[in-house]
């Protein structure tokens, strides 16, 4: 594996399977009453969050702590960053403190690439702008594999604001590496103009794709997009691209529903679909900690099993 995890595209199939298999072993730790391994004792993991994302930050924090790493949470709000400190100076500060890994969430696409030029430790991308979110893709793949088994040849449909979605970009890359067949479904306004060059299928018609999907992953759609004319209204979006009860019924019986959260219930997904037994949404959160343990373990532990 590379020293950093910045893009899902950095992972070979062997790398990805190693992370998923390691996570499978580590999952048992989360089921114990004492959820802690000594593996990363004495190593320092910094959570460098320039965007508010309590869910992702506590997931990484729990993962690092279960491996006995020291965790420093560095939130951009109320820190020197809000007083105008540059990303480079922040990086040099972390470097001076001896961070072994920096988990970065940033509103600018590519910020983790830039950070990797300035620190010696491993950089883990916890979401950069509208670019990627590779640990989300890994936990999604992990969740799918636990429900469906191996992903080769599985039909996976990702629905929503692909243009602005880091989750979609990472999933397309990782699922392609793992041999799944991905179809993106969205209104044309919410797809990149170059989406035809991506290693996946594209459709504007959710109803046509649902009956042949093993997994349907709904993406969060921000209501503000309406103001930039990406779609006419919330209701129209919901009618054409929302996963409501009728559409849910068109899915094969064993197909599952996913969502990276946070959800707009009633917009892209109906409440009863989100809460159904075929939804993995709550599992995804638990699996997030496990997969992040595996990533930190493999990047910092050095030893592979």
């Amino acid at each position: 594996m590379k020293r950093h995890l910045i893009s899902a595209g950095d992972l070979t199939k062997d790398d990805a399977l190693l992370i998923l298999d390691t996570a499978e072993e580590l999952a048992s730790v989360s089921e114990r009453s004492i959820k802690k391994l000594p593996t990363l004792r004495g190593r320092t993991v910094v959570n460098l969050f320039f965007e508010d994302s309590t869910r992702t930050r506590i997931s990484f924090e729990a993962a690092a702590k279960r491996l006995s790493a020291d965790v420093i949470n560095f939130s951009a709000k109320g820190s020197s960053v809000s007083k105008g400190e540059s990303l480079k100076d922040t990086a040099l500060t972390l470097e001076a403190m001896g961070a072994d890994a920096v988990v970065i969430r940033h509103g600018a696409s590519g910020a983790p690439h830039r950070l990797a030029n300035w620190v010696h430790g491993s950089v883990v991308n916890a979401g950069d702008g509208t670019h990627e979110h590779p640990t989300q893709a890994l936990l999604d793949a992990f969740s799918m594999r636990r429900r469906l088994g191996a992903l080769e040849g599985r039909k996976i449909t990702i629905v929503g604001d692909v243009l602005h979605s880091r989750v979609a970009r990472s999933n397309v890359l990782l699922l392609g590496t793992l041999g799944a067949d991905v179809t993106l479904v969205a209104p044309p306004t919410l797809l990149p103009v170059s989406v035809g060059t991506w290693p996946c299928e594209v459709s504007y018609d959710l109803d046509a794709v649902l009956p042949k999907s093993d997994v349907v992953m709904m993406l969060r759609v921000q209501k503000e997009r309406m103001n930039a004319a990406y779609f006419p209204s919330e209701r129209e979006y919901s009618r054409r691209y929302g996963l409501d009860r009728d559409r849910f019924a068109k899915m094969p019986d064993d197909a599952i529903v996913m969502h990276p959260g946070p959800m707009n219930r009633g917009m892209e997904i109906a409440a009863e679909v989100a809460d159904s037994a075929r939804s993995t949404i709550v599992e995804q959160v638990a699996n997030g900690v496990t997969i992040r343990m595996a990533v930190l373990y493999l990047l910092l532990g050095g030893e592979t099993t």
């Binding site: 540059s86 910020a111 690439h113 670019h131 060059t197």
Partner: protein, 428 residues
Amino acid sequence: MIIKNVRILGGEPVSIRIADGVIAEVAPGMDAPEAIDGGGAIALPGLVDLHTHLREPGREDAETVQTGTQSAARGGYTAVHAMANTSPVADTAGVVEQVWRLGREHGLCDVHPVGAVTVGLEGRQLAELGAMADSAARVRVFSDDGKCVDDAVLMRRALEYVKAFDGVVAQHAQEPRLTSGAQMNEGVVSGRLGLTGWPAVAEEAIIARDCLLAAHVGSRLHVCHVSTAGSVEIIRWAKSKGWNVTAEVTPHHLLLTDDLVEESPVGAYNPIYKVNPPLRTRADVEALRAALADGTIDIVATDHAPHPVEDKETEWSAAAMGMVGLETALSVVQEAMVETGLLDWAGVAQRMSALPARIGRLPGQGRPLEAGEPANIMLYDPSARTKVDPSAFASKSRNTPYEGMTLPGRVVATFLRGRPTVLEGKLV
């Protein structure tokens, strides 16, 4: 003074005798004990840049008139047009005269201020274009460069108004609504990188509109930094109608592509490649080269845009847009146009000296190297190969995309009205 052993436009070796800032005689074999030996270098008329950012007044940390004209002289330039987006904006006779005087005081390169089209570059009210034209700075080129004059009525009025003093409006063609938050060329790479796209149509739509406006009011339009194959097609069409439209291309758009944002020796998302208009695709580069060769695009202009280190050592979206270019321009043109057989040295001189001087209405620049003409001369050794080292630049800024690249050619000497500003590659 005699400059011996030089090849004008790459021709046979001759000597040039200069007296009182004017070329007195061009002939083979003239010599004198104190003659400057050109060593067989190519002699071209001093280069003329229609698009330079000197940053003074306001951002003297990035560049000053002094360092900018030093950089220009090092690049073989004897005249530059200083863009108006300074602080304060060059939108009054007072500011353009200040910049013009600073250029004269330093005496390294003629500085011709560009006047803003609208007050404060804000696109609402015409600046006092006539006052700038009548000032000591004799402004003839007007531009809101950095911003587009997107209001169609204002653009029409500006084009009409400058006819009174033979001015030209140099448009930065960028439809603002189509480029809100734009970070790089919209295409395959922007889609993968999750960076907001700057679509080609945002440039092309404005160029098409402006060509039609210029034709309608019978004025002169100059299109800044053309970057797309589609723009080339529109300008070719406008010229075929006989309309008075000229266009420029930057050296970087003749050589570099948007792939560099994703993969380069300096890492992904490195803002050294962030520029406006953005780097485009290989197909665009090929179309721009062909257009410069066939005259659809008239000239090369540097868009020299200095920025301090801290404005580039950031995440991509926070970084400033622009690249320095004066000291590498001719080398890049040699690489892109001469080595590829698209232009000879006469063609280079036409596009980097004669035509920019004509568009800017500079009677003493861009003249042929003949007896009786002003002795604005640059000597260039095209056989040299130089690894670009930004720390050696005369410019105050280092934001070059060519760092570490080996480029052909070297500026040997520059003469401004007979006075050397650069000798043996060094400032005099």
